[in-house]
Amino acid sequence: MLSFIYYIREFLRPKWITTFFTARTPPLTTPPYFRDFPELTDKECTHCLACMMICPAPEAIIVTQHEGVWRPEITKGHCIRCGLCIEACPEDVLASGRILAYKKEEELTLQGTFHIEINQSTCMGCGNCSVACPVNREIDPALRSSGTSTSDEVIMRIDTGQNKVLHEEKCTGCKTCEDNCSNKAIRVARVVEALQGGEE
């Protein structure tokens, strides 16, 4: 019996009555603070590949060159809208929601160090990783065009039948080598630290 009174009271509230007669769904809007797919700002991309390094989803972001201009490209359907690329980008090329704003305000950064491991028993020395590596391609144009490494400045190259890491410190952790190794012989460990307040 008590419940009837509660129900009647529920339905006699003025707010209930007004909403009952003027029921309207609010328009389908997305709030400005929603972390949507990252969008490009007008800043220039320096292809440091930090976004590719931090991206947790496979094939979601790739930095490519079109007509001489580098820019990150986000693949919808792969991107999980985590927003880490926006935080990791040192040049503020990407923006989404409020991430860019608070990143600047609070001086948030994500910094990484990288370590490349090559499994000697499975590496075939095919050179896919060292040719695909975007840093290698930058350093040694011969490697890019013919797969022939002529420089000792590259991160890694084929030597004595297997891939050898020469300059680990140049690695940007972009995982391109991992993706292009067909027998999973190369792994990049990415040790990322979340920092605040600039360089320590």
Partner: protein, 361 residues
Amino acid sequence: MKKTVDVSLPVGPMHPCFKEPCRIKCETRGEYVLSAEVELGYVKKGIERIMRGRPWQEVMFLAERVCGICSVIHNFVFIEAVENISGIVPTERAAFLRVIVNELDRMQSHLLANYSYCYTIEHETLAMYLLNLRETVMDQLELITGARVTCAYIIPGGVRSDLSAEDAERLRSALDHIDAELSRFIRIFETGPLIALRSKGVGILTKEAAIEAHAVGPTARASGIDNDQRSTHPTYKALGFSPIIRQEADNYARIMVRFEEVFQSTGLIRSALAALKEGPIRGGGTIKAGSIKYRNEAPRGELLYELTTDDYGRILEIAIQTPSIPNIQVCAHEMLIDAQSAADITSIFISSDPCIACTER
């Protein structure tokens, strides 16, 4: 006793009441349930296999996607586990922000569970009220973290973003709104005689059975067991947390425990907001080698991460024990048996708030 006809009654795997695919196979005599068995395996993805050999920034997102409903707690437990291995201590402000987000997530999860229950017992009005209230909570989550479901808020050493003063004010007013609305809905639930008929005395889980079967979370707390892992967490201790326990041990108690925990969560968020001091939100720190077992209270109960990392912070071995694993078994072997009506099967099952995605991963 003369045996009447035995019926093997399958429920699922696609059932309007279930959010996720699973199948309950019940042996019934008439409407009386003799035994029940839960059949799983429809959403197995092998997340733990994928996690192996990956750094925290990838595993964190995989951990979140163990379960889409209680994603924050998976993030929370995983990050605190690797922090404990590496000796990273989150900044004070970050610790409280974590609690705020975690409690918001718990609120929406409990509201969703109670929505499902009300929907299952065909009280659609209350169900819709609760679902609408959940949207308010989701708005707050989105306001703080920028995403509704997979927030990716907690990272080693701190949190992703700060809570500004005006956002905190919006959060406070939303909490007041939630409290006011929810007390109305609870009154509807508490005093509705039909609801009581469908809930009280149905799906009894005795304290002894609950202890024996290792029930966790609200399912166990409704049977009088004090097993809330938040009591051991330092930040919660600082906020003066004490678990909510009821003794009725039926569907009604389980739903009421969740309702009361929503109130408790709003209280915790308020005190966390009050305790929030200015300061950095990230402390830095890298993940080191080690292994750990770490647990905390998910909305559905105790969540345990057991993991080993290597020198470069990669996860070598990981095992996740989610709360729904014991709860589904408790539900099948203790609560469903002796149900007086086949119509109660779904309502009892939903009252234990099963999460199939968590269980199968």
